[in-house]
């Protein structure tokens, strides 16, 4: 039975290679862009709080509501709903390009929240000490907030990445391919259980790898 399972790689090996590459590209690009956007808005969500270094109720509230709205949509719905915007940004709503835009719109607010909670953990006393030293706000953000929160930021990004891998499985709907697409089209619709099993194994491995890497980096950064 195991031999029979391994036989199918002859037929589907290239398909998996292709799917892994597609998933990798989608997740890689979407993660890079979402991290930049998420980290930026995560910082904004923290420093604009009433009792923080750049209090601004309007900015905080507006951002808060927008993020909540985006976070309330399931990915599959969001992807279809923003097709016109996707088209406007990258010129197409299908393929890998067409999937990256909704993936970013879905993941960036999530990462922003994760970054926010990581940054809120930074000891307020240290921020106060830096204010007393005559540090500028930019210096406080770079030298205290982002630096002290590094382990928590990495763990947050790990969670975000795993969520992103999950969402990318649905990108088959817009023809972007990837592991999820293979699992649905071959494993489910064409009733090939061995393909389904392989896709599941590959996804589990990917998530394990990401989580282990994240935990390891965070541990190395933590000095307490």
């Amino acid at each position: 039975m195991l031999a029979k399972y391994f036989d199918h790689f002859g037929e589907f090996g290239d398909l998996y290679g292709q799917a892994l590459r597609e998933t990798g590209i989608m997740v890689g690009y979407a993660l890079a862009i979402s991290t930049v956007i998420g980290l930026f808005f995560g910082v904004v969500l923290v420093v604009t709080r009433r009792d923080h270094i750049l209090p601004n109720v309007v900015v905080y509230q507006v951002l808060n509501v927008i993020i909540n709205i985006l976070r309330s949509l399931p990915f599959i719905i969001l992807m279809v709903a923003i097709i016109p915007i996707t088209k406007w940004i990258v010129g197409t709503s299908i393929g890998i390009k067409g999937a990256i835009v909704p993936l970013v719109v879905y993941t960036a607010p999530y990462i922003a929240r994760l970054m926010e909670s990581a940054l809120l953990e930074v000891d307020r006393g240290v921020i106060e000490a830096f204010q007393a030293m005559g540090a500028t706000r930019t210096q406080i953000i770079t030298r205290v907030l982002l630096k002290e929160a590094r382990p928590a930021l990495i763990l947050g990004l790990t969670i975000g990445t795993i969520g992103l891998i999950g969402a990318s499985a649905m990108a088959g709907v817009v023809g972007a391919g990837g592991l999820g697409d293979v699992a649905i089209r071959y494993g489910y619709q064409r009733w090939k259980p061995e393909v389904m099993v392989t896709c599941v194994i590959l996804l589990v491995l990917a998530v394990q790898l990401v989580q282990s890497l994240g935990t390891w980096i965070a541990k190395r950064l933590r000095k307490r």
Partner: protein, 342 residues
């Protein structure tokens, strides 16, 4: 050098108005160690934060070297803050930086050349006695060592003023003393003006020149530490003093004295500085034919001055007692009559 004029700070918690500091006026002279004592919630934390504008006063003015802080723009205020070091109860070090980098922080902030940073940090490590700990992270240090790092960091920008926010409150008594000795050394060696807040009278007694007592946001009493100790005016001040030496006689003893045939009179005599060690009791006997007996004695050191308290019971004729006490007062001793218990 530091002047607070009618400083008030009011917070609003929802609709609740909290007057953390009310009308505080005080002046700190160059080179002195000025203490502010009060229970938690008395407003001393807010008061010390008004000195470097971590809290902007709602009313009143704060000036450093004659410059009103309220008139400064952002950059000027930051420049002024660099001349004012600050240390905290919880040390507030960067956990992700080594001891070296923590101490160098104020220098990094103004892009000091690397060579100059290394020189300065080594010098400070020497001063606070942590030469061996340069590349260690704060988590591996004891509380006292962390506070030493914080002190070194505060001194890195060569400040004229050092603010200490309950700097020894998280430390055990022995470590507290070693940190206080270090602060005293810094004050003398570098001629840095120190303002500290504390709830421990011991801290005031050991290193402060002058003290302000705070209660419910107000400065209720201030003056030289010695004067406050020898002649406290407010009940809260007496309470703080009592916390380190109790100069009251136990009630049962007072009762017992009263039941004696000739209870005489009970006096508290305070000696300050040079007067400690004068043979005053002998003089009461020889010059006034009085019979003093010692009920209680205490001698303590208030910064550089010796301060002694003696409670005596004196028997003799009323006139002789009066004359004797007048004589002692002439000798600049403080005399207080302690009323009988009944």
């Amino acid at each position: 050098m530091i002047r607070l004029d009618n400083v008030s700070k009011t917070f609003y918690q929802g609709n609740k108005k909290i007057e953390a500091v009310k009308n505080a006026t005080l002046q700190v002279n160059k080179g002195e160690i000025f203490g502010v004592i009060g229970f938690s919630g008395a407003g001393k934390s807010t008061l010390i934060r008004c000195i470097n504008f971590l809290e902007r006063p709602t009313e009143g003015t704060v000036s450093i070297n004659g410059v009103n802080l309220a008139g400064l723009n952002g950059a000027q205020l930051r420049a002024t803050r660099r001349r004012i070091g600050m240390i905290f109860q919880n040390f507030n070090l960067l956990s992700s930086d080594t001891v070296f980098d923590n101490i160098a922080t104020p220098l990094y902030l103004v892009n000091t050349p690397k060579k100059e940073i290394v020189r300065k940090v080594r010098e400070l490590l020497n001063l606070v006695g942590l030469q061996e700990k340069e590349s260690v992270y704060p988590a591996q240090l004891s509380g006292g060592q962390k506070q030493r790092v914080a002190i070194a960091r505060a001194l890195a920008s060569d400040p004229e003023i050092l603010l200490c926010d309950e700097a020894t409150s998280a430390l055990d008594p022995q470590t507290t003393d070693s940190i206080l000795d270090l602060l005293l050394e810094i004050n003398k060696k570098l001629n840095i003006t120190i303002v500290l807040i504390t709830h421990e009278m011991h801290v005031i007694k050991k290193i402060c020149d002058r003290v302000a007592v705070m209660e419910n946001g107000e400065v209720v009493e201030q003056g030289k530490v010695l004067d406050i100790f020898s002649n406290p005016q407010k009940p809260i001040t007496r309470n703080f003093i009592k916390s380190i030496f109790d100069v009251n006689l136990p009630e049962p003893l007072l009762k017992k004295l009263e039941s004696q045939q000739d209870p005489g009179k009970i006096f508290r005599i305070s000696f300050i500085g040079d007067h400690v060690g004068e043979p005053v009791l002998a003089e009461l006997v020889t010059k006034f034919s009085l019979h003093p007996s010692i009920l209680y004695g205490n001698i303590t050191q208030i910064k550089d001055t010796t301060f002694g308290t003696l409670i005596i019971q004196v028997t003799g004729s009323d006139e002789a007692i009066k004359a004797g006490m007048a004589y002692l007062e002439e000798r600049e001793l403080r005399i207080e009559v302690i009323p009988h218990a009944g």
